[in-house]
């Protein structure tokens, strides 16, 4: 059956795997924009490229879970704005404008994004790098009305968290508008990756967002493997999944505790902190690094499971299954805690769908989307697990999705160690050329990597964090909630600043 993606008019590019890349004209580009606006496809990513000629790329997924990458050349440094038709693209286009100097024609918002006016250059990734403009103060959106006041927060926040600026407009205690200003941790990772060796770029990808280092490692490795058409050995795929599920466990334990802590229920925080620490220690004992950084490499994994690994993981599973159900009971039976989380920070299903929100943010608002299932990747096609989906869309639903995912991850780890067979853990990566694309499910949602290899070096690499489509929903979720519930809402999203700012 032909689907939306099959009907897009464009020229298919050779050597792009596993999904097609089509060079399209402006009309097909606009057509894709209206399909997005009408909800027949989901925007996965939108970014610029300043290779041989300037172009923009857009990754979309249709209702049949088919994926395509559309590329539009922009010789006159302008392209038709997708954001004008489909608001989730607005920030992505603002970033393209700031980083590449490509103009989205007809864009509804032309303020800079990521560029806060502190760099020595303008359009650092563009074909023409120019000296910086005279910095002008960032124009926050105007708010009108009686008795409104503004609360500026950040970039340095009160806790041990990443930097970003939040501008609240409140009427009394009620938030009327939240506007985010991000980019403080922008490190220029894409410019460092361009021209780097495959190994150097792997280390950079592993440091895009430290909490998702395994997921980024897998996504980058899969993109390289797709570009060069190599397949990692089965044992490596199992070990990657093992690491990915350990990472998911550790982060979900941390998040569940931290959300409760932001509702001033520190008992859950203390106990979840113990489970998180036990998970990280098990990860260290299995793979010699607590966060398992640099353990996934293109071609396989760098570190085999330690000799005692299966025992370590079996003990971890026992410990979690002993302690976690009691914590779930504690969460569920504490009325004062439920009073804070139920009905707070609601994201409507419609909004989650439109923004293509992935991870627990999407799944708590009725979006049945997990890239481990669809489009799916090895070894999850051989494993038995379910994807929990709720529809309430509040803080409580985001907690429950995490709780259910912890249970699924524990079951997955058990299957993985049961089915783990001996064998090689990596294949050699030969220098070659090609284009690769990968989608991998991190604990937070789908991580997208798109890259082009040229003679064993990375010509360009684009990493897209799931937070890009979650941050805007946080602005919507907090509306009409009280200021004091913001930390709670924010923690229930736990968006990445580093992954977003890159």
């Amino acid at each position: 059956m032909s689907t939306l993606i099959d009907n897009i008019q464009g020229k298919r590019v050779d050597n792009h795997r596993p999904w097609p890349r089509l060079t399209v004209d402006a009309q097909a580009w606009r057509q894709a924009g209206s399909e997005l606006a009408e909800g027949r496809a989901t925007l996965l990513g939108l970014w610029g490229d300043a290779g041989a000629s300037c172009s923009v790329h857009m990754a979309i997924m249709d209702e049949a879970s088919k994926i395509a990458l559309l590329s539009l050349e922009c010789p006159d440094e302008t392209f038709p704005s997708i954001g004008a038709l489909h608001p989730p693209a607005i920030r992505l286009e603002r970033a393209i404008r700031s980083l590449y100097g490509l103009e989205p024609a007809g864009a509804p918002d032309t303020r800079p994004w990521l560029d806060l006016g502190f760099w020595d250059v303008r359009h650092p990734l563009g074909a023409r790098i120019t000296p910086p403009a005279v910095p002008s103060p960032y124009a926050f959106l105007p708010v009108e009305g009686e008795n409104l006041h503004q609360i500026p927060v950040g970039p340095v926040h009160a806790g041990i968290i990443e930097p970003g600026h939040f501008r609240f407009t409140a009427s009394g205690e009620t938030v009327v508008r939240l506007e985010e200003l991000l980019g403080y941790v922008h490190k220029g990772i894409k410019s460092l990756m361009a021209g780097a060796t495959i190994e150097q770029a792997a280390r950079l990808a592993a440091r895009a967002s430290g909490d998702s280092t395994v997921a980024y490692g897998i996504a980058y490795a899969r993109a390289v493997e797709a570009a060069l058409n190599v397949e990692p050995p089965p044992r490596a795929q199992y070990l990657r999944a093992l690491m990915a599920e350990l990472e998911r466990l550790a982060n979900h334990f941390g998040d569940i505790g931290a959300i409760c802590n932001d509702a001033s229920f520190s008992l859950m925080h203390a106990h979840c902190g113990i489970l998180r620490e036990l998970t990280l220690r098990a990860a260290f004992n299995c793979f010699r690094h607590r966060l398992m950084m640099d353990r996934v490499i293109p071609g396989g994994v760098s570190t085999d499971l330690a000799y005692s690994g299966v025992t370590v993981l079996t003990e971890l599973l026992q410990e979690c299954r002993l302690r976690f159900p009691r914590l779930i009971g504690l969460y569920d039976n504490t009325a004062s805690l439920q009073d804070r989380t139920v009905g707070t920070g609601i994201v409507s299903s419609e909004l989650a769908r439109r923004f293509g929100a992935s991870g627990y943010v999407g799944r708590a608002s009725g979006r049945n989307y997990d890239v481990r299932k669809s489009p799916g990747y090895a070894p999850y096609d051989q494993l038995d697990f379910t994807v929990p989906v709720l529809t309430e869309g509040d803080v409580n639903a985001r907690v429950w999705v995490r709780i259910r995912e912890v249970e699924q991850s524990l079951a997955l780890i058990e299957q993985l160690i049961d089915d783990l067979r001996p064998g090689p853990i990596a294949v050699a990566i030969e220098a070659g050329s090609g284009e690769g694309f990968a989608l991998v499910e991190s604990f937070r949602g789908d991580v997208l990597v798109s890259l082009r290899l040229d003679g064993g070096r990375v010509a360009r690499c684009h990493l897209r964090d799931p937070s890009w489509f979650q941050w805007p929903l946080l602005e919507a979720a907090i509306e009409n909630n009280i200021v004091a519930d913001f930390p709670l809402c924010n923690k229930s999203f736990n968006c990445s600043y580093a992954g977003h700012d890159l």
Binding site: V156, G159, P163, V185, H186, G273
Partner: protein
């Protein structure tokens, strides 16, 4: 809930014995902690954490210092919400250009005497991010640093070693 609290009270604590600081860390600190400060602060330091561009890996391990296994507060060290309350700035990341001004202002807002501890390999000299148009290349490029804790990210034990070294220097009798 009562059962969970009761068991928590009766069970042996999970907290581990404190690590011994490295000689290298003590040597780096030797010159930076003076006598008057020691008298002033005794054995207690307040820490303000500043993320100046980290990948958030360091933040995860700094967070872990508060869990039951490492229990930072038993050493008299605690994290505070404002630089105005802090004695120590614990800075992570290569210091992005977008965060330089915020870090400088945080440093100026911290009352004297104060110390700066740079955490992580990228906090030392920019590490893997050095050379980018968007980073300055390490915490010491922006504010004076008293101690570097290496690692990517440093484990909670390494962080604890560094902070205990700082504490011992800050409170040692002369």
């Amino acid at each position: 809930m009562r059962r969970t609290i009761f068991e928590g009270l009766m069970r042996r604590p999970l907290t581990e014995a404190p690590p011994v600081p490295d000689d290298a860390m003590l040597a780096e600190l030797a010159g930076s902690v003076d006598r008057s400060a020691r008298r002033l602060l005794g054995r207690s330091l307040s820490i303000r954490e500043v993320d100046a561009g980290s990948c958030n890996g360091c933040e995860l391990e700094i967070h872990a210092l508060n869990n039951a296994f490492y229990d930072l507060e038993r050493f008299g060290l605690r994290f505070v919400a404002s630089p105005r309350h802090a004695d120590v700035l614990l800075v992570t990341g290569p210091v992005t250009k977008n965060m330089r001004e915020a870090l400088e202002r945080t440093y100026r807002a911290t009352p004297d005497p104060k110390w700066v501890v740079a955490v992580g390999d990228c906090g030392f000299d920019g590490g893997i991010f050095a050379g980018s148009y968007a980073v300055t290349g390490g915490v010491s490029q922006v504010v004076p640093v008293d101690l570097h804790i290496h690692g990517c990210p440093p484990s909670p034990t390494e962080l604890l070693k560094g902070l205990i070294a700082l504490l011992e220097r800050a409170s040692a009798k002369v």
